[in-house]
């Protein structure tokens, strides 16, 4: 029994953390939004930096060609890929690092913490092991995953993976008619699949796997990776808030010296510290093929979501009016939390899965 990161997990995490801390500036995060300015777009604009207004989709073009400034995040993504991060779960003989979920979670925590926009979970955790193409591993091609008729990052991904029961199918972006959607977190680059694409036989889909176990494992990695992103986002918002309340003075003292503020932030930290070991344990269970891995993963998603939402709420409150602006960077992280809360199953859905698994199904 040892509950600690392996040396290779630590090395990958540290390398990614160093790169992301240096490269993912607020400008890079904002560049991931339609209009490229992270929610500032509406100021003084009439055409809106709104999806649909950019005119780049659907259609041909270079990766992410529909985004003004979109290339800023792509540069970082390729640097992350150059570390091998996209191929974390890909065997070495296929050009990957040959690591497992134990390394995936700390890596994606750092991605979440950095705020790097893009489909990191979809590409690294879900797709790359099934689709270890050189262009994907090099960071030239992004992969999105369809949930119902919504596709987060559907505006920027070249490859779209969809689950069909026990199978995973992959589509080229042009195989589907995609309608850009306005989302609270603009960096989600959300698209909706046109009804015509949903009815009738899927056009151009390629079977990635029809093995139920492989399909389910990929899905579980998506849930796990999203939990890791949420924990990373929670850390970042806590750090921002601690920094702020230490220097913001009212009544002649830092507001962080007030117990009302301290206790709110302490509760937020407890929630994150509660969630993180569960995500790491779920990663271990997935990698080891342990019994109960799915239920651990669901527990991780529940706790990570609840923690990140508590931190987001607390962070905004402790920032006062500053937290209620789009000029300040906090909203870039909070909005992503609200999007990810419902992604890959919301807490209610995962509690229901756990209930079935531990034999307390509804009466």
């Amino acid at each position: 029994m040892r509950f600690e990161l392996s040396d290779e997990a630590t090395a990958l995490r540290d390398a990614a953390a160093g790169l992301l801390a240096a490269e993912v500036t607020p400008a890079v995060i904002r560049a991931g939004w339609p209009g490229g300015d992270g929610g500032l777009a509406d100021v003084g604009r009439t055409d809106g930096g709104r999806p649909g207004g950019d005119g780049g989709l659907p259609g041909e073009g270079p990766p992410n060609g529909g985004r003004p400034n979109g290339g800023l995040a792509d540069v970082v993504w390729r640097k992350l890929a150059a570390l091998g991060a996209v191929g974390t779960l890909v065997p070495e003989e296929h050009g990957g690092l040959g690591l497992d979920e134990n390394s995936l979670v700390p890596l994606l925590e750092e991605v979440g913490r950095s705020g790097l926009p893009g489909p990191a979970v979809e590409t690294i955790a879900v797709a790359a092991p099934l689709l270890p193409r050189p262009d994907i591993l090099a960071g030239d091609t992004l992969v999105a995953v369809r949930h119902g008729d919504l596709i987060p990052f559907g505006q920027v991904a070249e490859v779209i993976v969809a689950r069909d029961g026990d199978s995973l199918l992959s589509f080229g972006r042009n195989d589907l008619e995609l309608i850009p959607q306005v989302a609270v977190d603009g960096s989600r680059m959300l698209a909706r699949v046109a009804p015509a694409s949903l009815s009738g036989p899927a056009r151009g889909g390629t079977v990635l796997t029809d093995d139920p176990a492989v399909t389910e494992a990929a899905w579980q990695r998506g849930v796990l990776g999203t939990s890791a992103l949420l924990i990373g986002l929670a850390w970042r918002m806590l750090e921002l808030t601690v920094g702020y309340v230490r220097q913001r003075e009212q009544f002649g003292v830092p507001v962080g010296s007030f117990q009302a503020v301290k206790h709110a932030l302490a509760n937020a930290l407890v929630a994150v510290e509660f969630a993180r070991p569960v995500a790491l344990a779920a990663a271990w269970a997935q990698a080891a093929g342990a019994a109960g891995a799915a239920r651990q993963t669901s527990a991780a998603k529940v706790l990570a979501t609840d923690a990140a939402q508590l931190v987001a709420r607390t962070a905004i409150q402790c920032h006062g009016a500053l937290g209620y602006t789009t000029e300040y960077e906090l909203h870039l992280f909070a909005k992503r939390v609200w999007a990810l809360a419902a992604a890959w199953g919301d807490p209610a859905a995962h509690r229901a899965l756990i209930a079935d698994s531990i034999g307390v199904a509804g009466g």
């Binding site: 509950f3 601690v242 003292v253 962080g256 010296s257 302490a266 569960v278 271990w284 529940v302 009466g363």
Partner: protein, 378 residues
Amino acid sequence: MDLRWSPAEEAFRGEARGWLEANVPRGLPSGDTRAGFAAHLEWERALHAAQWAVVSWPREYGGRDATLWEWLIFEEEYYRAGAPQRVTQNGIFLLAPTLFEFGTPPQRDRYLPRMAAAQDTWCQGWSEPGAGSDLAAVRSSAVRDAAGGGWRLSGQKTWTTRGAFCTHLFGLFRTDPAAERHRGLTYFLVPLDAAGVTVRGFPRLDGDEGFADVFFDEVFVPDSDVLGTVNQGWPVAMATAGSERGLTLRSPGRFTASADRLLDRYRERPSPALRDRVVQSWIEAQAYQMFTLQQVTRLADGQASGPEASLAKLMWSELDVRLHETALALLGPEGELDGPWSRGFLFSLAGPIYAGTNEIQRNVVAERLLGLPRGPRG
């Protein structure tokens, strides 16, 4: 990461489980009554006779030299088997680690074996009428008795758990009246049958005589019963408090066992509207277990337990209240009856108060883990 138990650990678990299943008493009365306390001592002595009382201690003091991991396993099995909370806990889990760290060899030899055997039973002497969360405000004093080679203790301790039944008390007394606050305090070990000690039991929230006032009227304590250094009692007391907040008092096995019983309760009488809360309690017990495995790995590597103990205390105490609230909701109208769940609920309400209130713990977390500025407080 390797979350598997070794074959040796599994064997240890099997041995513990086998013994506990065969020996755990059923239907013991509350340990917070005079008659119940005596019955619990019988159980604790049976544990000791089979060498299960203090598994993590050295063999010379009655333990098994068990690793922290094995101790966690034993605790899991102990509560899984439905065994009662330990009435010796303030000695074996709180004072003992402090004796191992600060005690002299004669003190260890004098107290540890009898503590393990449930011959001596220990209560805490921290709180006073004017000193609760603000422990450094203690006013009970110890005056030098040079002729006797010791000290004369006077004052009052209160809210002393099982003080009416225990044989000994450990606590802080002011030895330097001129020193400020947490300076000038000394940690004493006191037999409660000493001349000048008066104990008055009084009921806790559950109605049992689980609390006591302990009055000291020039009670003589020899120098050999000072734990640590005179006027340096504060860090010794903080070591004890750290044990109380964190791992040693509240192992995750107790909460995973409670969560499992909650699931059983739900299965007997499913109430779909409460299912999510039941699941949430199970999740939280699992989370505390995983958090603990992470902490124990660090402790096993020789890292000191620090303010993380405050995180742990916030976790287990709050999850325990939620778990019992959910249990009472599941019981519906039956929940008002005196029984294990209603008693467990009342006891859970003590968790956020004892071992330093959760408000104090949040201050510690905010200041020492998050780095927020200290407030206007001593």
